[in-house]
């Protein structure tokens, strides 16, 4: 193996792996502090997330959301933009989905309604990203500041919409009525039952295939189209992009629209797939989780799939821990997530020098 290949293996696989392991060890130390046996906890976590079909279903269901928001962050990242507005874009995207799924003619076929509702999510997510994008491109307001502020605006907007517009008469809680049935994305357990496989009910639905589809689309788009090339060029060097006839301002707007649209897909899993209505805070945590997923997945769709799966395990396994152990609350997931972000993001290159020294030493002849 040439040194270049070894280096890419180190960067692409070993480094994230070591980082995650370190994060787990650190989590183990936290467990020791709160008087929990880390090995016992790990067993519960792994079993809870992967050990039986319902747990696995939940894990994949959570992972689906992380794939969407992870892809969103990654696409923006390739254009040199740090989109931390996934939370708001997912939220407003959900509104787009809901509007289609609530008000379409119930007699229409699912084959028409579902794609339209998905498009609604894409469109509203993109719209929510376009304003910060425009402000960054043409007015110089930093996208990190504007997208995070738009999360708050989204939150207020959705409360208003749910309380004053979509809430049904006589209903106490701020949520919409039920979606038309044609917009429901089938559960995986139902689909499998049709083929004669019995699995336990879980919220896992066919949206996971939408997530896989968009992962492939993002991969193709970024690395195999001229637009992807333009985005990556603009992300690396503004001057080089202009030189190449690329308009970086346009790139900012277009890329953020794509990014927002991807984040807007969280709603199809949560709303069309599971709850079949729009409700408060369905997006909670997935937008920010997506940042960690993209970081861990090195902004590559394959990496994001793996990282999203890991985060799915953490979410589901964390819920099990909460359930099984007295002195562990669900918030332990946030701690683990934080440690993963710390070691995969902040201390990304912690092991790099050591790994290079032992696995890809400099050879004078090369």
């Amino acid at each position: 193996m040439t040194r270049d290949r070894r280096l890419s293996w180190i960067n692409g696989l070993l480094l994230p792996l070591f980082n995650v392991l370190t994060a787990f060890i650190a989590t183990g130390i936290v467990f020791l502090f709160i008087g929990v046996d880390p090995i016992e906890a790990t067993k519960i976590l792994i079993y809870g997330a992967l050990g039986y079909d319902e747990g696995l279903g939940y894990t994949l269901y959570y992972a689906t959301n992380f794939v969407f928001t992870g892809l969103a962050v990654a696409v923006a990242f390739h254009a040199g933009l740090f989109n931390i507005g996934g939370e708001g874009q997912a939220y407003v995207g959900g509104l787009g989905t809901a509007l289609v799924a609530l008000y379409m003619n119930p007699a229409l076929s699912a084959w028409i309604v579902i794609p339209l509702a998905i498009s609604g999510g894409l469109l509203f997510g993109a719209l929510w990203a376009i304003i910060p994008a425009y402000l960054q491109a043409y007015r110089g307001s930093h996208i990190v500041i504007t997208t995070i502020m738009f999360n708050f605006i989204a939150s207020s907007l959705m409360v208003y919409v749910l309380v004053n517009v979509l809430r049904e008469v006589g209903e106490m809680s701020p949520e919409s009525g039920d979606f038309i049935e044609a917009s429901w994305i089938p559960f995986v357990h139902d689909v499998l039952a049709n083929f004669g496989y019995e699995v336990t009910r879980s919220p896992l639905n066919m949206s996971i295939f939408v997530a896989l589809f968009f992962s492939a689309v993002v991969w193709f788009f970024l690395w195999h189209t001229r637009w992807g090339f333009a985005i990556r060029a603009a992300g690396k060097s503004n001057e080089a992009a202009i030189y190449s006839g690329i308009n970086p301002k346009k790139i900012i707007v277009v890329t953020m629209c794509i990014s927002g649209a991807l984040a807007g897909l969280v709603g199809i899993n949560e709303l069309m797939g599971v709850q079949h209505r729009l409700f408060l805070n369905f997006n909670y945590g997935y937008g920010f989780g997506g940042i960690a997923v993209a970081l861990m997945g090195r902004n590559h769709p394959v990496g994001i799939l793996i990282a999203a799966f890991l985060f799915g395990i953490l979410y589901q396994g964390g819920a099990e821990l909460d359930f099984e152990l007295q002195n562990v609350s669900r918030d332990i997931v946030v701690v683990m997530q934080g440690l993963v972000i710390l070691f995969c993001g902040g201390l990304e290159y912690l092991y790099r020098p050591v790994l290079i020294r032992y696995l890809a030493p400099v050879e004078a002849s090369e």
């Binding site: 195999h224 060097s237 001057e239 400099v362």
Partner: protein, 518 residues
């Protein structure tokens, strides 16, 4: 026993950076009170060696003696204490500080600087008198010319007690006249017993002012010569290890019709400051139009406007039958489609993307090319094949389209960029600093290719800060100073002195020189 007269002695100094053997058992001795030149190609290890002397890097092994004392610096502070001063290629001055404030920077003394300022004033007045280094002390550095700023750097070194001054490419930013002034200062310093180490790649300077010269090649010190007993040809050969043609022969230009006509251009730079005004010229088929000038006198801005990167604020450019004016812009892509190729001045920032593979750098500007796309699909295989073929045409080494662009040497990066632009068979070529930071072997190759394009009937606009390059390539030369054209001369009639005067806009009757414009 008398003290030896060796100021600096390096014995078997060795330094690795990863796989790169930057300094390979280097030996060097510099006599006190002499001017010692160090020449070598880019990447030969000159700068590394000097950075070791100045305490930026530590040698892996070897011994350094400064005035017969063992020396091992881990910071520039120790080097200053040992009597070594360094003038960097890019000045280390605080622009909005006065000269006096800049000089005491780093040696302020107590809590209040009033006293040290007063002391510095006395000391500087003395130094200025002794060495002929007069500079106004209470003026902000940003208001000084580049030549004067360099003096401030030298004064800074002397004020801190430097007995050995290292200068890294000191004339890169100077007009020929300013360079001569600098060399006069060198002589004065030398007469006062200061030792000077001059790092340069300009052999003319070495021949003119040094007493001794050492040549580096690929990290090794390959020769030491007494300057009076060597010649530029020998030095060039030592630098690259084979004979080179410094002056490229070219046939007489067969000049055709104008392909690019610029009229009364006024252009603002990226910050919106007016950098070019009243510039008019023609570039004709089959000729090389050289634009000379000291860095930062509007040439770069002009080049970007010609390539469609910056808009015009006044005037017009007729290019390949289209007209660019403040109202109708053409973007870089549209210009490329018209047959205008652009080799940017800043290779690293604009001409390539360091983290991209060579094939992707070779795609820049041509990403929408129909030959490389099938519908929405940008065909990787075609992109790579295209890159491989242009790499072969320009002898880019290693010829590997998958290698990251930053892993090529400067010369090969530049060849890749030139290949990308030349191999599309453009009609007008706008070329900025084609050989900046490129080794001599590649320089020869690149210049030959530019002349080939001229002989193929292309119109070439060449911008370079290397006067020697402008003179050896151009059929016609225009000189810019402060954003205006200060002179036009025929390539054959050009001499360095006249061009230098024009570059400083110091010609007796600039109006007359302008009148010569076509």
């Amino acid at each position: 026993m008398t003290k030896s007269n060796i100021a600096i002695e390096l014995i078997n100094v060795d330094k690795h950076f990863g796989a790169v053997h930057a300094n390979d058992k280097v030996n060097l001795s510099v006599k006190t009170g002499t001017i010692h030149g160090i020449v070598g190609e880019n990447g030969a290890g000159k700068s590394t060696l000097m950075s070791i002397l100045y305490g930026f890097y530590q040698a892996d092994s070897g011994q350094i003696k400064v005035f017969d004392k063992d020396f091992r610096a881990t910071s520039s502070k120790q080097s200053i204490e040992a009597g070594i001063g360094m003038v960097h290629q890019h000045f280390m001055l605080v622009d909005n500080f006065t000269v006096l404030e800049n000089v005491i920077l780093g040696s302020e003394g107590g809590a209040l600087i009033t006293e040290s300022l007063a002391n510095a004033r006395i000391e500087l007045t003395r130094l200025a008198k002794e060495y002929g280094l007069e500079v106004e002390l209470d003026i902000a550095v940003e208001e000084l010319s580049v030549g004067m700023q360099q003096r401030v750097e030298i004064l800074k070194g002397l004020y801190k007690g430097a007995k050995v001054l290292i200068l890294d490419e000191p004339t890169g930013v100077l007009t020929p006249q300013e360079s001569d002034e600098l060399f006069r200062i060198f002589e004065a310093l030398k007469n006062e017993g200061v030792t000077i180490i001059l790092i340069t790649h300009k052999l003319r300077e070495i021949m003119n002012i040094t007493d001794h010269v050492s040549v580096m090649r690929a990290g090794k010190m390959v020769a030491h010569r007494e300057t009076s007993k060597t010649n530029p040809e020998e030095l060039a050969e030592l630098m690259i290890g084979r004979k080179v043609l410094l002056n490229i022969k070219k046939s007489k230009a067969k000049i055709g019709k104008p392909l690019l006509v610029a009229k009364n251009l006024e252009i603002n730079n990226e910050q919106g400051l007016k950098r070019v005004s009243e510039v008019s010229f023609e570039a004709r088929s089959g000729e090389i139009l050289g634009i000379a000038g000291v860095t930062g006198n509007g040439q770069g801005t002009l080049l970007k406007a010609l390539a469609g990167i910056l808009p015009l604020t006044k005037g017009s450019i007729e290019i390949m039958g289209e007209t660019i004016s403040p109202k109708s812009r053409l973007n870089p892509e549209q210009l490329r489609n018209l047959g205008v190729a652009h080799v940017p001045e800043d290779r690293q920032k604009m001409g390539m993307i360091a983290e991209f593979s060579a094939s992707e750098t070779a795609l820049m500007g041509y990403q929408n090319d129909k030959d490389l796309n099938q519908g929405i699909w940008l065909k990787k295989s075609l992109v790579k094949a295209n890159c491989a073929s242009i790499m072969e045409a320009f002898d880019v080494r290693p010829p590997n389209p998958n290698l990251m662009s930053s892993n090529f040497s400067g010369g090969n990066q530049q060849k890749l960029i030139l290949a990308r632009e030349f191999e599309r068979d453009p009609e007008v070529l706008i070329i900025g600093q084609p050989t900046r930071g490129v080794d001599i072997g590649a320089i020869e190759f690149i210049r030959k290719r530019i002349i080939q394009m001229r002989d193929a009937g292309k119109a070439i606009v060449l911008i370079s800060v290397e006067l020697e390059e402008i003179m050896s390539l151009s059929d016609r030369i225009i000189v810019m100073c402060d954003g205006i054209i200060t002179g036009t001369v025929n390539g054959a009639d050009a001499d360095e002195a006249t061009l230098g005067m024009m570059m400083a806009n110091a010609l007796e009757s600039p109006a007359e020189a302008k009148g010569a414009e076509i």
